[in-house]
């Protein structure tokens, strides 16, 4: 193993080591030590990832090739199936790794302050490090099986962290819901892997993607759609998105790390990673694009009426991931990855700024009980503002460039309807984000009953400021990112330069964004009466949207109720009349046979005698019959 391979392996194993150390040391570990271990492992991992990325960058720009694939040996050998353990560190994986370790480190740092008073402080960091490890495994793996291991692992970590406040019923239920939805996706990926192995004879990316051209489109479409099921569940896209808003029951750093920046983008990563499959399966790719664009618009409408600050952000996450999914489905893989990058910056920033607000209000999340906080929490306000303009798409903030790249792709790749969805969603995004901003920080005086105060904590403020800077300038990473990702998406159908901006489109989109901001400003700052009358006029549709189109109710009646009915029927009928009846019948038969045998073994002398007599009679009858039969054939009995 050369030094580079060892370095890469260490990046993967450091968070795991942290998680194991904190878990096993348990209560013997001082709280500070747990925080130091968790943060230290991530910081080192991030720096090492940076070294790898820079080395690769330098090598590539000076015309050298650098190894991307590192094999460490065979993991499982079941002839003819051979699964090796190897890591694939290409620009795509590095993009995700940098975000996972970098933003992950910032969020860990933020957690030091945010979770300071929690009694399960060490557990929290152990879970967070476990999450980072599994997420890194997911993106670094060089084959589908280890990807699935990481895929399941992030689901587990997500489950543990959503249910972190396990004494809250709603948190436990939300965790369960997330796990069930994610397992549906895991099954999809598993089936996809089976199909891949059946059709392509390997689970390693290099083999699979090299042989893709030799397999027919129907098989690839099936694989693509099953992979999409996994991606949809993990990335909270329609129709498996309902767990994401509920997942906001977890601590805010969890929402920032898992349910905004990293885990929920695993679906985007998966589809980008499998770009050769989708390039050869246009139907599956089209479905991905439709799901993404629809989810973007769908979630944006819901975001407009929510009152929980974190739920608004959750729906906006779903909406932004819809953009990414659309991009990778349409073939604009680079644009999707770029939007992932900027989104990780500004969405983590928004969650962490919201976390500061929530903490300073003593846990209050309802924006109807906020307002007028701009002056009371200046840092939270300014950083939240930067995040808001970044997500809304105001130049020169990060979101402007990445969203423009996605919309450009929609136009360039001829998706007029889906492109329209995205543009409407962009308008709505600007509207609901500024609605959130106004309701939280302006719109008159403070409406809640707490005592808003700002008590600055360095560990919370530093990451927020760093992310605010990144959200501001992140858009300018387009050029290097585009150049780097071109190395990954070799031979992709569409080659898009995300660094060039299609100015007419960008200008049009920006006008819509301004219109959205203006609408929010009008309704929430200038004319609250207008808003009231609008709410009255649109009471019906508003009710529909506020309840997230009643999808939870639909699932309740479509899945939960029949499932319970089947289970009840099984318990009532199957259990009683079949499962229990079989042993009962068996025992009854045995008892009857035993009773029959017992009746003969009565100890009664006369009954024994009768038995002998009957036996004698039967023997006599047998003898007479055979003798008579023999005599009738002329043979005399002897």
């Amino acid at each position: 193993m050369d030094k580079f391979a060892a370095l890469v392996l260490v990046i993967l194993l450091l968070p795991l080591a942290g998680a194991v150390l904190i878990s096993f040391a348990g209560p013997y570990l001082p709280r500070v030590a747990a925080a130091v271990i968790a943060n230290g492992t991530l910081l080192v991992a991030f720096l090492m990832t940076g070294i790898v990325a820079l080395t690769g960058w330098q090598a590539t720009s000076s015309g050298q090739t650098i190894p991307q694939h590192f094999a460490y040996g065979t993991w499982a050998l079941i002839p003819p199936l051979k699964i090796s353990f190897g890591l694939l560190i290409d620009p795509l994986a590095l993009t995700w790794m940098l975000i996972i370790t970098g933003v992950g480190f910032l969020i860990h740092l933020y957690s030091v302050g945010y979770m300071a008073s929690d009694r399960n402080y060490r557990t929290f960091f152990a879970y967070m490090n476990l999450f980072v490890f599994t997420m890194l495994l997911l993106v670094m793996s060089d084959n589908f099986l280890w990807l699935l291991v990481g895929w399941g692992g992030v689901g587990l970590a997500s489950y543990l962290l959503i249910g972190f406040y396990y004494d809250r019923v709603s948190a436990v239920l939300a965790a369960r819901k997330a796990l069930i939805m994610n397992v549906i996706g895991d099954v999809g990926i598993m089936i996809a892997i089976f199909l891949i192995y059946a059709h392509l004879g390997s689970a390693a990316y290099s083999d699979v993607f090299a042989r893709v051209a030799s397999v027919g489109a129907p098989a690839l479409t099936a694989i693509g759609l099953w992979l999409l099921l996994g991606a949809v569940a993990k990335s909270a896209q329609l129709p498996l998105h309902t767990w994401l808003p509920d997942a906001m029951e977890g601590p805010t750093p969890v929402s920032a790390l898992i349910h905004a920046a990293t885990m929920v983008t695993a679906g985007v990563y998966l589809i980008a990673r499998c770009y050769p499959i989708y390039d050869h399966a246009p139907v599956a790719a089209e479905v991905v694009a439709v799901v993404g664009a629809t989810s973007a618009l769908f979630a944006a409408t819901i975001g407009c009426v929510q009152y929980d600050i974190k739920r608004v952000l959750a729906y906006s996450t779903m909406s932004q991931i819809g953009y990414m999914m659309f991009a990778v489905g349409a073939g604009a893989y680079t644009a999707g990855a770029f939007h992932f990058l900027t989104h990780a910056f500004f969405k983590a920033l928004l969650f962490m700024a919201a976390g500061i607000v929530i903490q300073n209000l003593g846990g209050e999340q309802d924006i109807r009980k906020m307002g007028g906080l701009a002056g009371k929490m200046p840092l939270a306000f300014w950083t939240f503002l930067i995040g808001t303009v970044a997500i809304a798409g105001v130049p020169p903030f990060a979101g402007f460039f990445s969203k423009d790249a996605v919309i450009d792709a929609a136009i360039a790749l001829h998706h007029p309807v889906l492109g329209a969805f995205l543009i409407i969603a962009a308008f709505l995004t600007a509207f609901y984000m500024f609605r959130l901003l106004f309701l939280t920080f302006f719109s008159g005086a403070y409406r809640g009953d707490g005592a808003p105060h700002d008590h600055p904590m360095v560990s919370m403020n530093v990451p927020v400021v760093v992310l605010a800077i990144l959200a501001t300038v992140g858009g300018f990473l387009a050029a290097p990112l585009g150049a780097a990702l071109r190395l990954t998406f070799v031979g992709a159908l569409h080659d898009q330069d995300i660094a060039t901006i299609n100015w007419p489109v960008a200008a049009g989109a920006f006008l819509l964004v301004v219109a959205g901001i203006a609408t929010a400003y009008a309704l929430y700052q200038v004319r609250p009466q207008l808003r009231e009358s609008l709410i009255r006029a649109l009471a019906g549709p508003r009710q529909l949207v506020m309840n997230a189109y009643y999808l939870d109710t639909v699932y309740h009646w479509l899945v939960e109720v029949p499932a319970y009915a089947i289970a009840d029927a099984a318990a009532g009928f199957f259990e009683t009349f079949i499962i229990r009846a079989i042993p009962l019948a068996a025992s009854a038969t045995a008892a009857a046979l035993g009773g029959f045998a017992r009746a003969w073994e009565s100890g009664q002398l006369r009954r024994y005698g009768l038995t002998i007599a009957v036996g004698v009679v039967l023997l006599l009858a047998w003898y007479v019959i055979t003798a008579y039969a023999a005599a009738s054939q002329g043979v005399l009995p002897q």
Partner: protein, 102 residues
């Protein structure tokens, strides 16, 4: 002096045997049952003797002698058992004695 046919002896013996058998199965007094057994022994003896004459062979008669001896031994032991059971309980019904029940 006309001979009685062998078949008549055999059928007479069968009738005696069946009477003894039915008596053994139907009665519940152990002493009566033992007497029914004696009837069956005797039916068997009659068959041996009849065949002995039929074949002009002494073996059948010797066998009857041995059967009589064994029957005597059997009667002695059975009656001893009955005496013991009677000593233990005043009223003896064979159906009440089922300690050999499986």
């Amino acid at each position: 002096m006309p001979q009685v046919p062998l078949a008549d002896y055999l059928i007479l013996a069968t009738v005696l045997f069946v009477i003894g058998l039915v008596g053994f199965l139907v009665r519940r007094n152990p002493i009566t049952m033992l007497m029914a057994i004696e009837l069956m022994w005797n039916a068997g003896n009659l068959v041996f003797a009849a065949f002995a004459r039929n074949f002009g062979d002494m073996t059948g008669q010797v066998f009857v002698f041995i059967v009589i001896t064994v029957a005597a031994a059997e009667a002695a032991i059975s009656l001893a058992i009955v005496v013991m059971v009677f000593r233990h309980r005043e009223d003896v019904d064979v159906d009440d004695i089922s300690v050999m029940r499986g």
